[in-house]
Symmetry: C2
Subunit: 197 residues, 2 copies
DNA sequence: AAAAGAATAGAACGTTCGTGCTAATCTGTC
DNA sequence: GACAGATTAGCACGAACGTTCTATTCTTTT
């Protein structure tokens, strides 16, 4: 890894933390330069444009999320336990930084804009939905879920739950939300479960 | 109503439309002045600060939301039909403007900040949750829901559903989302319903 | 119609935004 | 250790930000 790449990584590390707290738009070149003790132009040279920087932050965030939350979950026992692991890891991820899950906040910031950031974000969300669908299928294979369920419907309901958790946790600072989330998750499982499992 | 109030209302009307599309932070004094064909300072005089303007936008939005979505719903048949009406009206409200529901986007923008905007937003969200709780109770009273259910748990799950709808609709532009939402809503009702109703 | 008060415009402020350009410094290769 | 190329800093730019001040124009009251 060359020197430039090292610096870039260090920048992205700081940028990711900032983006999680202030939103993607909150990460201005000036503030980021100050935080990394670089000059604005020196930092800027790594990214060519603000939009590129934002995309790279998302990419960097995704790599960390996949590594720390998704991969470990996928290595646990298939089926419902795996879904639970994924949900737990997502909750940890979303709770570890003050602003919550970067992808949730960024999705809200960019859902109504055009450009490469929105495009990239959209693709990332589809990957995420794909991951959720995959674990849902694994619960069918293990026989925990019925064979005839609508996977995408399950994914929608599961993802909604996470979004609800996100709002209750970060805006409302609800203390019961961890329990509420677990209860709702159990409800969800029951609805899709085979009666005899 | 004095002249000043008239202008202020006209400003807020434009501001609300802008905020729904661009987010609260997207409504800058300059852009808003241009849109209302006023001078920056002339407009500014009505609000004394940007934060005040943002709060007033939220207030104005809330008054319209209450009037066009909540009140009509509360006048329909109590219980599940009333909940359905409320959900439908919320969906209409969230779908009518390009950026979605102002309160959802603003909640994401301000969940991790301090100041009067966040404080006000928080209070508004509590009012909203209160409304949801109220209609949930009405379904207990009609006997459609069991007497021993946890109302706040229901509210959480219902609100989560709306947030899921919001993301699927505005970011993913999902076409099936209206059906998915209805299916999930039916699921939700079934879970809290009396078996014999 | 005059006087008083409210509402608006104009110009300017200091700051920050993203982005170029040029020059200096550092890193790795021969 | 020199040279080439990559990396970083310095400085400047036009534009937009929120805000303040003063002056002008409208409303309202008398």
């Amino acid at each position: 890894m060359t020197k430039g790449d090292e610096t870039k990584n260090a920048i992205l590390d700081t940028a990711l933390a900032m983006a999680s707290e202030l939103g993607l738009e909150g990460v201005t070149i000036g503030i980021l330069a100050k935080a990394t003790k670089m000059s604005k132009s020196g930092l800027f040279a790594h990214f060519q444009s603000k939009e590129n920087l934002q995309v790279e932050i998302l990419k960097y965030g995704a790599s960390i999320f996949i590594e720390t939350a998704v991969m470990p979950a996928l290595q646990t026992e298939a089926g419902i336990p795996r879904i639970r692991a994924l949900v737990n890891n997502w909750v940890k991820w979303a709770s570890s930084r003050a602003g919550g899950c970067l992808f949730v906040t960024a999705s809200n910031e960019f859902s109504n804009r055009e450009g490469i950031v929105r495009t990239f974000l959209l693709q990332q969300q589809k990957v995420w939905v794909g991951i959720l669908r995959k674990v849902a299928r694994s619960a069918i294979k293990t026989g925990e879920f019925r064979q005839d369920i609508d996977c995408d419907q399950f994914v929608f309901e599961l993802y909604s739950l996470l979004l609800g958790f996100h709002l209750y946790h970060h805006l409302l600072h609800s203390e019961e939300i961890d329990t509420r989330k677990s209860v709702a998750l159990d409800h969800l499982f029951d609805k899709y479960r085979k009666f005899d499992s």
